[in-house]
């Protein structure tokens, strides 16, 4: 089985979010970038397929040279090859188009992407990629097994879950549950050394098409101070929630 894992290069979850150039660009100053958590769960599941079922695992990212350390980290975790499509990621459709080109050329059986990136939260790349490839698609996937060319997946739905089957080729939008948090691998020294020698191929982008454009960013208005209620006077809390917040 040939697996492609799509990796988004995102600010880590503790980052302070600021903008620059008249609030039109994300300020990367002092920000530590990581593998998008939703992608990392998928990558770790892919490692399981590699170890138990002899799958090969490539990773791909659409972005500039500054994203290479994130791809190297994926190699250190155990991916075999990395591909970087040499163009900035501008919108979900453009990224999906670039990934589709890599996916077609590589003839992958299974493509794993995160259900959304934690920066733009677009949540559209996996589905768009599947639609462009005319491949099967399962979103918000929390469990995945593959036997031969048949996949069994569990998808999170509002208020529960659903078990689905589909044949390969398949694209999934993954998230926590594909593996547990405790299964995530921190690359060891050997992995890091090996990753330096593994291939990281830079490919030129396809003709770019975008459907949307991020024009400006804004931070939420600062919050007022918390109103503290005495634990001996919980009636006041109920009164505030009822009359002031109109929440109950």
């Amino acid at each position: 089985m040939k697996i492609l894992v799509c990796i988004s290069h995102v600010p880590d979850t503790t980052s302070k979010i600021n903008f620059t150039e008249g609030d039109s660009k994300f300020d990367t100053n002092g920000v530590n970038f990581v593998i998008n958590p939703n992608d990392e769960f998928g990558l770790t599941r892919a490692m399981w397929f590699k170890e138990k079922q002899g799958a090969s695992v490539d990773v791909v990212n659409v972005g500039g040279a500054e994203t290479e350390p994130t791809l190297r980290k994926a190699l250190a975790i155990g991916a075999d090859n990395a591909i970087r499509v040499n163009t900035p990621a501008t919108d979900g459709f453009q990224v999906a188009k670039q990934l589709a080109k890599v996916a077609k050329e590589g003839g992958y059986d299974l493509i794993i992407a995160g259900r959304e990136s934690i920066d733009y939260n677009g949540g559209m790349v996996p589905g768009m990629l599947a639609a462009i490839l005319d491949a099967n698609f399962i979103n918000t996937c929390i469990s995945l097994e593959v036997e031969g060319d048949k996949a069994t997946a569990i998808r999170e739905i509002d208020g529960g879950k659903e078990t689905l089957t589909a044949s390969l080729p398949l694209v999934i939008g993954g998230q926590k549950g594909l593996v547990e948090e405790s299964d995530l691998k921190i690359p060891n020294m050997r992995g890091i050394m090996q990753a330096r020698k593994k291939p990281l191929n830079v490919v030129e982008p396809d003709e770019a098409t975008t459907h949307t454009e991020a024009v400006k960013f804004e931070k939420p208005a600062p919050k007022g101070d918390v109103k503290l209620v005495d634990p001996e006077n919980l009636d006041e809390l109920i009164d505030l929630l009822h009359n002031e917040a109109k929440a109950i």
Binding site: G92, G127, N136, I138, T163
Partner: protein, 320 residues
């Protein structure tokens, strides 16, 4: 021109999100027609109250279970038939699944997590949440057809005096629409889901163990709320992953969020930031959650919550 909305049903009845996307579509449409697409709705005319003038109701047993590819195909055909230039969907798990497929089929730009009516319609610019609620992002959709994914509870319901005509609609479905098959659905029947809940009651590590969740569930029962938890709690297996709210878990956009024994890590706060009113109960006055909350009680949750539950019961009895 018309604005198309995908109005979701559950057992034939419209979900609240269906009325919300209809309300939004009516506002965006101005004088134009709002056309809804529903699957196996029992009383589709209900949508008239929220500004829909025509409902294309699809009655097809093969579509009784949600199927992203087939639903996307049906919605694509409806949008083409109606010449719709704007399509509005909710941000339920199913809508988030279907929207990217629809976007490719219609060659439409798609903006997800939209928080409000468009900033402008020419160019078509919407405000959406990004960086897991740590920021807003204004996105311009540059394609002829535009898809808006409206965040739950972001726009609210707007009633409209109007009637909807209901038409049967039978899209031509292909074999290729049914290649992903639902084998089984495991869904709690009478539980409020985090996505649909008006109120969410959430517990953290401060509760010390899964055996202490009774008082959280009791509060949720009294308030008709959904239960949720912080990441460490789901990581330790005290509560199911499906209850984990935060940056890598579920987003919360309810009217009220009550956090018990949750310190308020930045990743947690990001995930619940869209909740309108936030209450924190924690014994540590330095817990970061107090900076993000509207109301706070400093003290021992094991004393406060049972007392609060009694008072909430009295309040509910009086205000029923």
């Amino acid at each position: 021109m018309s604005v198309l909305v995908y109005t979701e049903t559950e057992d034939g009845k419209f979900k609240k999100a269906a009325f919300e996307v209809a309300s939004y579509a009516k506002e965006v449409a101005g004088g134009d027609e709002v056309v809804a697409v529903s699957f196996n709705a029992t009383d589709a005319s209900e949508l008239g109250k929220y500004g829909v003038s025509k409902v294309l109701n699809i009655q097809n047993d093969k579509l009784s279970k949600f199927n992203a590819e087939a639903y996307a195909d049906a919605l694509t055909q409806a949008a083409k038939k109606e010449g719709s230039k704007i399509v509005v969907v909710s941000q339920s798990a199913n809508s988030k699944y279907v929207a990217p497929l629809l976007a490719v089929h219609l060659e439409a730009g798609y903006a997800s997590n939209v928080m409000a009516a468009p900033e402008s319609t020419d160019p078509f610019t919407v405000k959406r949440s990004a960086f897991t609620n740590k920021a807003f992002n204004f996105t311009k959709i540059t394609t002829d057809i535009k898809i808006v994914g409206l965040s739950q509870n972001a726009f609210g319901l707007k009633e409209n005096a109007g009637d909807a005509t209901v038409e049967d609609f039978s899209p031509e479905l292909k074999e290729g629409d049914f290649t992903v098959n639902v084998e089984s659905v495991d869904k709690a029947k009478d539980k409020v889901t985090i996505a649909d809940a008006e109120i969410v009651v959430s517990g953290g590590r401060g509760l010390k163990g899964p055996e202490n969740w009774g008082m959280i569930e009791e509060m949720a029962d009294i308030l008709g709320a959904a239960t949720a938890c912080s990441k460490p709690v789901s990581d330790m297996g005290w509560r199911p992953h499906s209850e984990h709210v935060g940056q890598t878990g579920k987003p919360v956009a309810s009217n009220l969020y009550i956090a018990v024994g949750i310190s308020g890590a930045i990743q947690h706060l990001a995930g619940i930031n869209a909740a309108k009113t936030k209450v924190v109960i924690n014994n540590d006055p330095e817990a970061p959650f107090f900076k993000a909350a509207d109301y706070g009680v400093v003290g021992d949750a094991f004393e406060i919550v049972p007392k609060l539950n009694e008072k909430l019961k009295e309040f509910k009895a009086k205000n029923a």
